[in-house]
């Protein structure tokens, strides 16, 4: 665990000292801020036209859409951030440093995953400040907001695990990002056919990301959804660890 934290801290430092993760963060926050202001404007105009002095509904009309947008952006953003974690190191031959250091593959993968999660937590926390800035001026549904943030954190952690697995498959970060994006999109649309056929309670629905993110972001925290996120994250982290072990025996 200690070594994982050392690697996580190091991954965080490596992202911190480079310009592109900050530029990516700034671009995403700017986009979300614009969406937030747009939703807020719409909400205020609605309040004026209906004369609702109690300002009820700010969470559903302003906070949830902004956090929902972040959830969509994460599907593209996390592969970009995570694809270099292992693939980039393989490309410049610096992965040898970790492989020869006498640490387990589990520690390497979990350290890199934690480092990536730290960065994503920063993004989520900064985004959360936008709806939280309404606190005191309107009645926020803090329970729903908390469930929404939990959904985002779980999704970000799961997408980071997927990105890490994709990154372990190749020495080309661009290819790794494409693979991670494909897996993410597959998880989003896997039950599309079933839903169009009116089926919403089958195994294929259970496999899809929206089936679990949706209820959580609506404020319904069910253990089945928490288990799903933990399970998918665990599977991809285990696959990444296995892939790293295979690299030592690579033919």
């Amino acid at each position: 665990m200690k070594t994982s934290l050392v690697i996580a801290g190091h991954e965080w430092r490596r992202l911190r000292v480079q310009a592109w993760p900050w530029l990516l963060l700034a671009a995403v926050l700017a986009l979300l801020a614009w969406l937030f202001l747009d939703r807020l404007d719409t909400y205020l105009r609605l309040q004026e036209s209906t004369g609702n002095a109690a300002h009820v509904g700010a969470t559903a009309q302003v906070a949830a859409p902004v956090l929902g947008w972040l959830a969509i952006l994460l599907i593209v953003l996390v592969p970009l951030l995570g694809s270099r974690a292992i693939a980039g190191e393989r490309r410049v031959h610096s992965l040898n440093l970790l492989l020869a250091a006498g640490i387990s593959d589990v520690a390497i993968v979990s350290g890199k995953w934690l480092g990536l999660c730290l960065w994503l937590l920063l993004l989520i926390a900064l985004t959360a400040l936008m709806p939280l800035s309404l606190f005191g001026t309107t009645e926020l549904d803090l329970g729903r907001l908390a469930a929404n943030l939990l959904a985002l954190v779980l999704q970000a952690a799961m997408l980071a695990a997927i990105a890490l697995y994709a990154s372990s498959l190749t020495a080309q970060p661009v290819l790794a990002a494409a693979v991670a994006l494909l897996i993410n999109l597959l998880l989003c649309v896997v039950d599309l056919g079933a839903r169009e056929a009116g089926v919403s309670n089958s195994l294929i629905n259970w496999l899809a990301l929206p089936s679990h993110f949706g209820p959580l972001s609506d404020g319904v925290v069910a253990s089945v959804d928490l288990v799903w996120f933990a399970l998918i994250s665990g599977i991809f982290l285990a696959l990444a660890t296995r892939q790293l072990a295979a690299l030592r025996g690579a033919d």
Binding site: V6, Q18, V92, H93, N96, A100
Partner: protein, 248 residues
Amino acid sequence: MTSADTIPTLRIDRISRTLAGRAVVNALSLEVACGEVLGLLGVNGAGKSTTLRMIAGVLSPDSGQVLLGGADLYENPELARRGIGYLPERAPLHAELDVSEFLLFCARLHGLSRGEARVAVRREIERCDLGEVQHRLIGHLSKGFQQRVGIAQALVHKPTLVVLDEPASGLDPVQSLRMRELITELRANHAVLLSTHLLAEAEACCDHIAILHRGVLRHSCRVSQGETARLEQQFLRIAADLEPGTDL
């Protein structure tokens, strides 16, 4: 290459490895003890780097044993590998970090506490002459300095065995000379195993030489003054796949 009553720091026993269907290393056995520098000599593709990667734990052998201080590297990999410092052919550096920051991470990675790591980093910065560049980004350093940072990361946790893969590769003559001096200094407290395809380099800083060809140990001897010409003949004959006694 050690006396019979001492346990060698490193002993590899009939290790073999096949890559892409080709036997790159075949039943190779070697020993190196503390205070010795063993040079693995061979032409490109002889299996030197693969051998060193197996010793460093980056690549697992198909068969055979790697013993560090008598302990099997692949039965207890995590503890055993902490006794090894490895510099691959391309130094494993993080270009976006400065030298001190990177070495601190390497020390912490090998299990040193924060305080121990700081002391170790200062020691290696001094030993490898990195003082003037310690706060510069690694990506902005010359090849020579980058190679020294690579050596420093291999030494920062005080390993018993130092494994260097073509350490002078790409260095100018002055940097090569400094590298040889550094390797000679390492002999005092470490067992050193290095690979090279340059006979002069092997002779300059090694106590023993093992000539590898097509993954097989073809010749092993102690380096002695005045035998350069004979050793060169031997090396060229092996490299050219000639039988002993055949003219080059």
